[in-house]
Symmetry: C2
Subunit: 421 residues, 2 copies
Amino acid sequence: MHWTSHDIRLANRFAVLRHIITEGQVTRPEITAATGLSLATVATLVSELLELGMLAEVGQQESAGGRPRTVLAVRPRRGVLVGVDVTETYVHVELFDLNLGVLARAHRVLAPSQSRVEQVLEHVVSAVEEGIARCEVERDTVLGVGVSVPGQVDREGGVTVYAANWDWADVPMRDLISQRIRLPVYLDNPAKASTVAELWFGASRGYDDVAVLTLATGVGAGLAVGGSLYRGADNGAGEWGHTTLVLDGRPCRCGSRGCVETYVGAPGILQHIRELAPDSGLLQGSHANGNGTPAKRTPGNGTPAKSTGDQTATVAALAEALAAQDPRAGEVAAVTARHLGVAIANLVNLVNPQLVVLSGWVANRLGRYLLDEVCAVVAREALPGPHAATRIALCPIENPVTLGAATFALEGFLGNVRDWG
Amino acid sequence: MHWTSHDIRLANRFAVLRHIITEGQVTRPEITAATGLSLATVATLVSELLELGMLAEVGQQESAGGRPRTVLAVRPRRGVLVGVDVTETYVHVELFDLNLGVLARAHRVLAPSQSRVEQVLEHVVSAVEEGIARCEVERDTVLGVGVSVPGQVDREGGVTVYAANWDWADVPMRDLISQRIRLPVYLDNPAKASTVAELWFGASRGYDDVAVLTLATGVGAGLAVGGSLYRGADNGAGEWGHTTLVLDGRPCRCGSRGCVETYVGAPGILQHIRELAPDSGLLQGSHANGNGTPAKRTPGNGTPAKSTGDQTATVAALAEALAAQDPRAGEVAAVTARHLGVAIANLVNLVNPQLVVLSGWVANRLGRYLLDEVCAVVAREALPGPHAATRIALCPIENPVTLGAATFALEGFLGNVRDWG
């Protein structure tokens, strides 16, 4: 039995706050109508949030034939939430008010030689401190810091279990950060952060069963069940990028072959270009030698920064060529869409989600050009029932990882509030 | 928000009854210890079940230094539960007491010419009536009838949406049956029935996140999240048999290619024999012509009964040859285990279950010979984190589909009981 009455209380607390954040100003009956909760439950939850200072009563609204209704709104400056996106090449920090509006940003570039734990930690701490200083708030206004790190994360223990590109294993990242910045820290990975951002503020709002796909250098999925992030036995769920699509196919950095990631992640798309259009001029940087040999990627090897830079530039060049309806680029897009479509059909058949969201920087760049063909492939490959129940959409959020990380901090803060009554 | 306090109440009701059924005789403090529920909650739930006549107080147990504790047990004859397993070749009915002990059985063979809705319905009704007559109980003692039908089922509407081998679509099976037998009917498919039987009475008892794989002529999975069956957007979740393992691989009856089912379902195993050991004598019946040509299987085509009989006989011959350590049979087992292992690794990486259970008649026959090699493949193919969290086991239940169907009837009955307090 996973769920207790405390869990439901907490989920309802999230639902009420989420509705007020997204609507701006609402009355209690409006919250009741939108959430399906009883008026009594809404009244209790609103009282809690008023008591915490997270909400304010900002006015009265006439109601036809009844008493005027009190209008509620979030008190945005009651607290600051910090979202940190740690990647192989940078640390990006955003600070949010309680409406999840951005108050400040800070950024650090990680050179390829700076992947040791102490080095990454130093950048995280200095970027967070810079962000807090920019906000000009008292330190105790900061309710928490959510941190996304690549790889597998033991969330309960706050430990980075495994980060393929860095040779990190069992790094107690949460405690290392919180010892330095003396604030509550919540650790998870980008796929799960993006999923939570999607559920609160994105295309997934109001859906129960969702798959949020992160397409980047690495590829992953966040699964939501009943409107909540599904974590699996030890927070390892969602490694869709490392499911086999082509038995005995392309070698993957995980040590296996034919993984989804090797066909739809950025390095996989570069490989499609090498195979289909090596002389197209699409390959940028050191990959543009046209020799058709992929960079050797084995588990635990650091990715050279030049290679990541080349990925970004090549994907950008591909997007431009697609915008210009270049036929060579079209071939690359078609083969990418085909692999992505079959891999999504696998998810649709297994999980039967209401919504599949494409997120991550590769989806940001290429999603609009791939979406129609991906939908056509899914229509062919998925079973009729699950296919009819599923919609595929692009993620509308600009920085879902920092927003999701900050949302983890908000959820953590609300989770520590004592239940009333 | 899927879960309400009613849902939790119901899940707790299930947990208490399940513990009493599996333990036989227990006291309230023992239920409290086993379920993690509070003593007050257990007391309320036990009172409800006593009131319903489903439990009895059967004695007193001395307790060290305290008052004697009342011993509780199920009243097995308070109700009868019917489980019906409808397949392409037979209808099997089992009737259970409230301890889920088998009271009676009835069986009907379906000839290949008898796949029309009215014909199947007639067999279901007559087998259920025969079973009830054999039990010699009043009709109102029967609490409900659970029916498993192959294919996709709209559970809420009680409709068989799609049954590939029968060309059935949108058949309102639940209402057709209940109009005839005038009892509450609960409809679902074999993968989901097996999963519920596993969660209540099998290897999955006490686990939260589980995948139960049904290996038969068709292949499917039941996913459990938080100890409850996960259904997805429209009860379509679990079509693991129709996820692509080999892009552009073997043609599948679903219309796609390279589906898991075409490598690990019974017809797929027969195809391995044709490819690897056509002259081994393993192929039985009409398939034993050794010409290497698979039977044409397109969506909606009926499976000839001879072919299904051949499958059963061939899988049985393969099991015997494996028991005798026949090397040709070993090759077939190895290639089957490899495909099954990679397909399970996909599930492990995506869903991160605590337990994967192999069920269905093919697993019953071959599971013991495949398990070690399957585990070795999963160890190689799955990511280290999710792999470490997962155990793979064979289903210990003899007839999980009828037991699970009866359990749907029990869950349905308990779900209709009014909440107290």
